[in-house]
């Protein structure tokens, strides 16, 4: 049931205050158009990576839609997140084709490696592990998507290797940054 999502997501309370002014151009673009609540939420999420609790009031003020209705829409769709996520999102496909080709093994291996549960973010805020239903590359099942890159024909080991490589890249590029 979709309603269970509400309980799963703690309202987006962060220690940092978010700068809502970056939402202005978005609000300008959509506020007077009917039916644009979903694009507004999508836009907000694109700005912050999730929808901060404070943003609901701002959206409501601009669109004159009740915050309750906005919250209702935000919790209905799987795409919307109400709490912050890691810098990199790992989406492991659990569609039918991937399930039949043992997608569970991939999620298990990644969980083990990153020490997180499904839907959680690593302590360093680097990675979030998610399950999705079908990325449309079923013939390459099992599949995962990291950022915009899709990786196919995986097994637990190769999936972890890809993440390891990524981690090493991140580390070395950070080190580079510090040198400069």
């Amino acid at each position: 049931m979709r309603i269970t999502r509400i309980a799963n997501e703690q309202a987006g309370l962060t220690n940092e205050t978010v700068d809502l002014s970056v939402m202005e151009p978005l609000l300008e673009q959509y506020k007077s158009k009917s039916g644009s609540l979903i694009p507004l939420l999508q836009g907000t999420q694109a700005l912050f990576g999730f929808i901060p609790a404070e943003a609901f009031q701002k959206l409501s003020d601009a669109t004159k839609i009740a915050t309750a209705d906005i919250y209702g829409v935000a919790t209905f769709y799987a795409q919307f997140r109400l709490s912050p996520v890691g810098k990199t999102i790992i989406k492991v496909c659990h569609g039918t084709a991937c399930h039949v080709q043992n997608a569970n093994a991939i999620t298990d291996a990644i969980k083990d490696y990153l020490k997180v549960k499904d839907g959680e973010t690593t302590e360093d805020g680097e990675f979030t592990l998610e399950s999705v239903a079908c990325l449309g590359c079923c013939s390459l099942a099992p599949v995962m998507m990291i950022g915009d890159n899709t990786h196919g024909k995986l097994n637990g080991k190769s999936a972890v290797r890809i993440i390891k490589d990524l981690k090493n890249q991140l580390c070395s590029s950070e080190a580079d940054g510090q040198l400069k």
């Binding site: 609540l37 039918t96 039949v100 449309g136 079923c138 013939s139 390459l140 196919g152």
Partner: protein, 591 residues
């Protein structure tokens, strides 16, 4: 001599297999100047199992090479272009030459997919060379009456490809007959069935065909606005649709007063936000309007009161893509394919434990066995074919014994499955049917919008029962309870989601009841999938005493020292299967 052309297949699946790297590699080879050719791109031709694909066109005709990773491509290009040699090992399809993979194309008839993989989807010039917008132009220039277009579609026998199979011409007729100052056309590109990707490939490969289909629909029913509702998980499809819309507008093929007439038509793309139920037409409309995607009662049907309360005609991507072809070639040509009540062709996404996974378009009426064994090349690792799932979470399993069932709406329905949108997930003996039913129910249970009690609570109760059964806690009477609840959910749900959610359970109960019984009474999983029902033991003949399994066991259930036989303490074992995975000597037995 004609200039050599090298074309890389850049669909989502190709890119996932590394086609972008192949493309860059070829571009750098081209830049070196040793070989002269034109580099181009196309989309998916359907041979996903051989991705990345590279096609070379020259005096020898067209030849497609498979498995063209960035590492492999240079050698093939060199041989082909510089030495005039064809690498027959890598060639998968050729105009003038037989290849090993020809079986994949034999028997296919490409109507909806006519241009996918044969043109650059981001170039309207190429689309125009492939007859794009010819049908709508013809209708406008000849001032064809709406009723005549509807008659043509009715005569073609085209039925909705989104799953329901409702006659498209009839749907158009209703929307046409309802007078209104504003009407809408919607293209359903939500493709929610996990394990199906026909619509994605079509949108990525030939967006203009869908746009033109929608224009023809708009012209016929009297709508001037079209909306494509596309799921957000398909970024490439959305990108190519937007490119196609911009290009068509620039060329004056979309917009005001088309082809000098008073017909105007505009299209925009609306991104979904991740909800399976939004594929249902009334939920989809609610979602476009910015609300929660909850289905509502019908009637009124969208043809009477749809988007913003106006008459609306909604069809699936594949349905729309067929329309221009039918106008160009005539209803008779289309109806020449198929069976008595299901005309034309259908695209299927072949996935799962099949050798040649990919997209195939076949005339209605071929058998499931033909699709799986002739086109699909049979089962991976030559295992035994067990069942095929049609119609995703709303559909059902067809067992191997019924492999001679032909694919058309009525024959598939008769098995208890549904045609659905065209996902065909093939399973072999290593798939547990109860686990599969549980998987689908988990999906529908999560995706239920929560409006109807039976769908909301009933699916949850069914899921709990299946979970108990797979954990070895099944009891006498469970199957009867499952069945009773399944029918209650079917009969008491408002929309298709609830009405079909029990189908996977009902079909597996019908065809694989013995497997359920093995779980409940013998506490065994015949496919060896449900972990709590497995017992792990060590084969004394094969164990070398390497200690790897003992080290890996998370609960220290394995005893034994170096070079002595290891044993598993069944009382401690949690059936995680780790020992089975790590043993290099196949000494761990599962029962």
């Amino acid at each position: 001599m004609e200039k050599t052309k090298v074309i890389v297949g850049l669909g989502s699946c190709g890119i996932a297999a590394g086609a972008s790297k192949t493309y860059s590699q070829i571009a750098s080879i081209l830049a070196q100047g040793e070989m002269q050719f034109e580099l181009a791109r196309t989309s998916c031709i359907g041979m996903c199992y051989k991705e990345p694909l590279v096609e070379i066109q020259d005096a020898k005709g067209k030849i497609i090479y498979g498995d063209m990773t960035a590492e492999a491509v240079e050698a093939v290009l060199r041989a082909h272009i510089l030495e005039g040699k064809i690498d027959t090992e890598k060639a998968v399809h050729a105009e003038k030459l037989a290849t090993k993979e020809d079986g994949f194309f034999k028997g296919q008839v490409k109507i909806a997919l006519r241009n996918c993989g044969y043109m650059d989807p981001e170039s309207i010039e190429e689309a125009l060379e492939h007859d794009a917008y010819k049908a709508i132009q013809h209708l406008i220039n000849t001032k064809t009456e709406s009723t005549d277009v509807i008659q043509t579609i009715l005569d073609s026998g085209l039925r909705g490809r989104g799953g329901g199979g409702f006659p498209t011409g009839l749907k158009w007729k209703f929307a046409y007959q309802n007078e209104s100052n504003q009407k809408y056309i919607i293209c359903n590109a939500d493709e929610g069935d996990p394990g199906a990707f026909m619509d994605r490939s079509l949108l990525e490969g030939d967006p203009h065909a869908v746009l033109e289909g929608m224009m023809i629909g708009g012209y016929t029913i009297g709508a001037s606005q079209g909306v494509i509702y596309c799921r957000a998980e398909y970024p490439l499809a959305i990108k190519r649709l937007n490119i196609a819309i911009d290009q068509a507008k620039e060329k004056g093929l979309l917009g005001e007063n088309l082809f000098g007439s008073d017909f105007s038509f505009d299209i925009y793309v609306k991104e979904g936000a991740g909800a399976f139920v939004c594929g249902e037409e009334t939920a989809l409309i609610a979602s476009i309007e910015g609300q929660r995607g909850m289905p509502r009662k019908r009637p009124p049907f969208p043809a009477v009161s749809g988007l913003w309360g106006k008459p609306t005609n909604i069809n699936n991507v594949e349905t729309w893509a067929n329309v221009p072809w039918i106008i160009n070639h005539g209803a008779k040509a289309y109806a020449a394919y198929g069976t008595e009540k299901s005309k034309g062709t259908k695209v299927f996404a072949l996935t799962g434990k099949i050798k040649h996974g990919g997209l195939v378009e076949v005339p209605m009426g071929v058998t499931i066995n033909d699709i799986i064994f002739k086109l699909g090349g049979g089962i991976q690792d030559d295992k035994k074919f067990k069942a095929v799932q049609l119609g995703g979470p709303s559909g059902g399993c067809i067992p191997a014994e019924l492999g001679n069932t032909i694919v058309d709406y009525d024959s598939v329905n008769a098995t208890g499955a549904i045609m659905g949108s065209g996902g065909m997930v093939v399973m072999d003996e290593s798939t547990c049917m109860i686990d599969l039913a549980k998987f689908f129910l988990n999906f529908t249970q999560e995706e239920s919008c929560g409006k109807c009690t039976f769908c909301r609570v009933g699916t949850k109760r069914m899921l709990e029962m299946l979970e108990r059964i797979t954990e070895g806690k099944g009891e006498e009477g469970d199957l009867e309870k499952l069945e009773a609840l399944a029918y209650q959910i079917k009969n008491n749900s408002l929309c298709g989601l609830g009405q079909t959610a029990p189908n996977p359970v009902l079909t597996t109960l019908k065809y694989f009841r013995h497997e359920y019984e093995a779980h409940i009474y013998d506490k065994k999983c015949p496919a060896k999938v449900c972990k709590p029902l497995l017992t792990y033991s060590i084969d004394p003949d094969k164990c070398t005493g390497c200690t790897v399994c003992a080290k890996k066991c998370p609960v220290n259930a394995i005893a034994g020292s170096r070079k002595t036989l290891h044993t598993i303490d069944q009382k401690i074992c949690i059936q995680c299967g780790e020992c089975f995975t790590v043993c290099k000597f196949e000494a761990v037995l599962v029962d």
